[in-house]
């Protein structure tokens, strides 16, 4: 053990008292020299001669000292500190290098951090709750949501420490001043805050006892965003009341500003309201989907044990509901990676974006590597000298890498600043969605880790190759005045880098053009109805005001609007295609009169009123529209062409009867009309089957409806009058009136977001690659100046010189392009998931476009160096030789 204390003491001494150690070494070597001289003098040599001989025998003291130093292991740290100082000095002395390199890396790093930060906030975030690691989603065999009674029973079983439920399925009318606004609250079970332990910024949360559904609770906790945006940050908000669905709710508390909600994905509901019959009318329906269950595991119970225990408890009441055997299917963690499974497409999109941003950073690093290579050529002499006096190659590589590290670190710091600025801008983005989505780019440990690894990665990418190249010098020519190589290799390190850069740029641009084309095509796609002059009013009724049969109120509104001058048609429907509320989608078994056995069908659902197809501009091909006579007693349906083609097997559709297997006792449907195909859920979808039922046949009251108005006058001139007519019928309804084209923004949202994000990244990457190309061609001309001078002196024409310089660049770019196209052909294939059906990933325009664009920009990048080459004065360059 003594040995170790000695070793450690020695190392600490060499680290801390470096100069003392070096002095010792000098003294020791001097002693040796003196002894040797003394010996020689004793042999009869003169004093001067003896010293000279001793020194010659001894060799280079500097080299020995260096070797002795290297035996001390602390060298690495010491060198690192020294290198950092040296590199920082060196970099600061070259502000141009610092600015160009750091800003390149800053852009690349910023892009990575922003995209990852967004994905982190939307997809990987852990909800703001106490001890969120013990929170789990509980899923039943009915899917993600369970009925209120199922929640009550599971909670009463006491298996978990606590079990709560939430849902964002219903919207409420908030009356503010003279108008009503439709808001989507988070409807929660009474014990929600007790179980989750969500922090409250002001006031308090409601407790399980005061918010019990049977007590008809009238309390609400509001989000910070709602408080600031809608209530103007009113200081006296606590204890005040909000009029929701015509009832007064007391504000108990305000949630914190930086809050990640339990539903995740950045969804930030404005209000949190306890579930009750006032909010959810069918609260007692045993099979309804009321709430998504979130429970808190007991500290000593894993998720599998919990699932088993919940199942055991639920079999006790299986008697009254056979659907409850094997009731609890899954118990999975809340937040984090598990969320990715649920929104695979969004996760994939972000994955793709992260690949894109990584490529952008790679291009940026290649630029910096190009700069460093150019610098290292200028420093060749210095490096050769240091190698000659005994520095090891590894040592110099380490030092050059440190310089790359300083540049990368500076760039990353700037990138973090860019990210912070972008985060602020992004936080203000409001998407046209009914529920606020917050884009929260928070600097958490994940982002910090990414930033650190980006520093390391970009250091290696940008500095390793130049460092290895720079230290691969043979000493003699390096030490001479100038090393001039007239031999010229096209695919040297820098050349390969340019080709690689161009290849990546081609790939990025192909993706960019694909997404831009996608946006263009999506905008041109026919939705299958005439959006042009149509207006839509989204009407939300206060619960109970829509009429007992479910449609009186909306019929009255449609009648009023129809009476307005200029109105050609006014019709109501449950859903409006290509919006958030598009109707529904059903997959079920039906029996069709004239066909054997049940048929598996998958169709888009909507219940629509009389005149709907005329108002929407959807062609009626056969039969008739719904009329006021289509009530519940004789159920009628209208289908689209695709439904007929897929399921009717050539049978005559009109008059055909369709039985839904799920409800055998129900009255069957009779098909009374066939309409043209149109788009339902997304603009890029392929042909879908549709099954329309009559809105007037609805038996359950409908809180929400669309009123579609087609007029002779331009849409925006009609908005105010339509709204006022609707409000005359029911002043408490929340009404949003807008042109149908504006309501369809939602449908174009994915393609717009895709085009913007990928477009910005692609353009950034291409720009960086072009800067790199310019640098390389320009540098090559500088190096070949004497050669060009000689060629000119020997009579080469301008044309020949131009060709000489230009062909080099053209080769590098050409090879890069071909490689890029080949890679793009393979890599872009999975992108089809994000593109409209009409656009293939091998789209010709998307591949030819980038090539033309890059060829053109390469011409510009190569132009000025070429011109410089042509202006070379042979006499001058030769004289300087």
């Amino acid at each position: 053990m003594k040995r170790w204390t000695q070793v450690v003491a020695l190392r600490v001494r060499s680290l801390l008292r470096r100069s003392a150690v070096d002095r010792d070494l000098d003294k020791e070597m001097q002693f040796h020299l003196d002894e040797r001289s003394a010996e020689l003098i004793a042999e009869g040599v003169s004093a001067d001669e003896a010293r000279r001989i001793a020194r010659r025998e001894f060799g280079s003291t500097a080299s020995i000292a260096q070797q002795c130093r290297e035996t001390r292991r602390v060298n690495f740290l010491q060198n690192l500190a020294q290198d950092l100082r040296y590199a920082s000095r060196n970099v600061i002395k070259q502000p141009m290098l610092l600015v160009t390199a750091a800003s390149s890396i800053a852009l690349g790093v910023g892009a990575n951090l922003v995209i990852f930060g967004l994905a982190n906030g939307l997809l990987l975030s852990t909800p703001t709750a106490s001890d969120p690691d013990r929170l789990v989603h509980v899923r039943t065999n009915r899917g993600s949501h369970a009925s209120y009674s199922a929640w009550r029973d599971l909670e009463a079983s006491g298996v978990m420490e606590g079990l709560a439920g939430h849902s964002i399925a219903v919207d409420m009318n908030w009356r503010s001043g003279d108008s009503s606004i439709s808001v989507m609250p988070l409807i929660v079970t009474a014990n929600f805050f007790d179980v989750m332990g969500i922090p409250i910024a002001q006031g308090r949360a409601f407790t399980a006892s005061e918010a019990a559904a049977d007590r008809d609770p009238r309390v609400v906790v509001i989000s910070h965003g709602f408080w600031v945006r809608r209530l103007g940050g009113d200081a006296s908000v606590l204890g005040s009341t909000l009029s929701l669905n015509g009832q007064r709710y007391t504000v108990l508390g305000v949630l914190p500003a930086a809050m990640r909600s339990l539903p995740g994905y950045g969804v930030s509901p404005d209000l949190v309201i306890p579930i009750s019959r006032a909010v959810v009318s069918n609260l007692d329906a045993p099979r309804a989907s009321h709430v998504q269950l979130i429970g808190r595991l007991r500290p000593d119970q894993g998720s599998e044990a919990t699932r088993a225990a919940l199942n055991a408890a639920s079999t006790q009441w299986a008697g009254d509901d056979p659907g409850r055997t094997g009731f609890v299917r899954l118990v999975t963690p809340v937040g984090g990676m598990y969320q990715l499974n649920e929104f695979k497409e969004i996760a994939l999109f972000f994955g793709m974006l992260l690949v894109v941003t990584a490529l952008v950073l790679a291009i940026a690093c290649a630029n910096v590597a190009g700069l460093l290579l150019a610098k290292s050529v200028a420093r060749r002499k210095e490096i050769a000298l240091r190698l000659a006096i005994g520095a090891s190659r590894a040592r110099i590589v380490q030092q050059l890498l440190t310089e790359g590290f300083v540049l990368s670190a500076a760039g990353t710091v700037a990138g973090v600043l860019i990210t912070a600025a972008m985060a602020r801008m992004i936080a203000r983005v409001a998407l046209p969605l009914p529920i606020p989505i917050t884009f929260d780019v928070a600097f958490d440990s994940r982002l910090a880790l990414l930033a650190l690894s980006l520093v390391v990665g970009s250091t290696i990418l940008s500095a390793l190759a130049p460092a290895l190249q720079a230290t691969r010098v043979s000493l003699n020519p390096g030490l001479k005045q100038e090393s001039r190589t007239y031999g010229h290799r096209r695919f040297n390190a820098r050349g390969v880098m340019v080709s690689a850069q161009v290849a990546v740029a081609v790939l990025l641009l192909v993706m960019t053009v694909l997404f831009l084309r996608n946006l263009g095509l999506a905008n041109q796609l026919e939705p299958g109805f005439e959006a042009g002059r149509a207006i839509v009013a989204e009407v939300s009724f206060v619960e109970g005001r829509q009429g007992q049969a479910g449609s009186e109120a909306i019929v009255a509104m449609a009648d009023r609007v129809r009476a307005l001058p200029g109105v050609e048609a006014a019709a109501f429907s449950e859903g409006l295609p290509l919006t958030m509320r598009y109707g529904g989608n059903t997959g079920t078994m039906i029996r069709i009169e004239g066909r054997d056995g049940p048929v598996r069908v998958d169709y888009e659902d909507n219940s629509v009123g009389p005149d709907y197809f005329r108002a929407m501009g959807i062609a009626l091909l056969r039969g008739r529209e719904f009329t006021t006579a289509d009530r519940a007693v004789n159920r009628t349906a209208i289908v689209n062409e695709e439904f007929v083609r897929r399921y009717l097997d050539g049978l005559e559709p009109i008059g055909r009867t369709i039985y839904h297997d799920a409800d055998p006792g129900e009255i069957p449907f009779e098909i009374v009309g066939v309409v043209a195909n149109s788009k339902y859920r997304s603009i890029g979808e392929d042909r879908a089957a549709a099954f329309y039922t009559s809105f007037l046949a609805r038996t359950s009251p409908q809180r929400f409806a669309h009123l579609i108005v087609r007029s002779a006058a331009p849409a925006d001139t009609m908005l105010a009058s339509v709204k006022s007519e609707i409000l005359k019928a029911d002043p408490d309804a929340a009404v949003v009136v807008e042109p149908v084209t504006a309501a369809l923004t939602f449908a174009f949202l994915p393609s717009r977001i895709g085009a913007v994000l990928v477009g910005v990244m692609g353009a950034l990457g291409a720009l960086l690659a072009m800067i790199g190309l310019y640098g390389v061609v320009s540098f090559a001309v500088t190096r070949r100046t004497p050669e060009i001078g000689i060629r000119m002196a020997l009579g080469a024409s301008h044309r020949a010189i131009g060709r000489l310089v230009f062909i080099d660049g053209a080769w590098l770019v050409g090879v890069g392009m071909l490689a890029g196209l080949a890679i793009a052909l393979v890599v872009t294939r999975p992108l089809s998931a994000f593109l409209v059906a009409q656009l293939s990933t091998t789209d010709l325009v998307s591949f030819v476009g980038p090539v033309i664009l890059l060829a053109f920009t390469s011409l510009i990048a190569g132009w000025s160096p070429t011109r410089r080459a042509l202006r070379i004065q042979p006499a001058e360059t030769l004289r300087s030789e």
């Binding site: 020695l10 025998e57 080299s63 020995i64 070797q67």
Partner: protein
């Protein structure tokens, strides 16, 4: 930067340790001792001696102290540590194994 040396690295360590087994010496003394004992056959160059001394010291096999010599000058004197003795024994054993093995090979007629 390697420089020509008659000695294999491992052998030099052995020679230094062995030289110091008798008594502590300074660098010059070690070089002289090796030269004398080998009848001027083994010349330890300073370029390999001092890095080797420092390496052995770093391993904890030698311990260095500054002492005044007869001439009144300070010299850095190296002495074997307990770990150094153990290391010497180990190196001696492996050297003997190696040299007898080489002997067997070269003496075969």
């Amino acid at each position: 930067m390697s420089r020509p040396s008659d000695l294999v690295q491992g052998t030099l360590d052995l020679l230094i340790l062995k030289t110091l087994a008798v008594e502590p010496r300074h660098g010059w003394g070690i070089a002289k001792r090796i030269r004398q004992m080998s009848g001027d056959v083994l010349q330890v160059t300073q370029g390999s001696l001092y890095p080797a001394l420092h390496r052995l010291e770093q391993h904890g096999w030698l311990k260095a102290t500054w002492v005044s010599t007869d001439g009144g000058r300070d010299a850095k004197v190296y002495a074997l540590t307990a770990a150094g003795r153990k290391q010497l024994a180990a190196e001696l054993e492996s050297w003997q194994r190696l040299s007898s093995a080489i002997q067997l090979v070269v003496s075969e007629s």
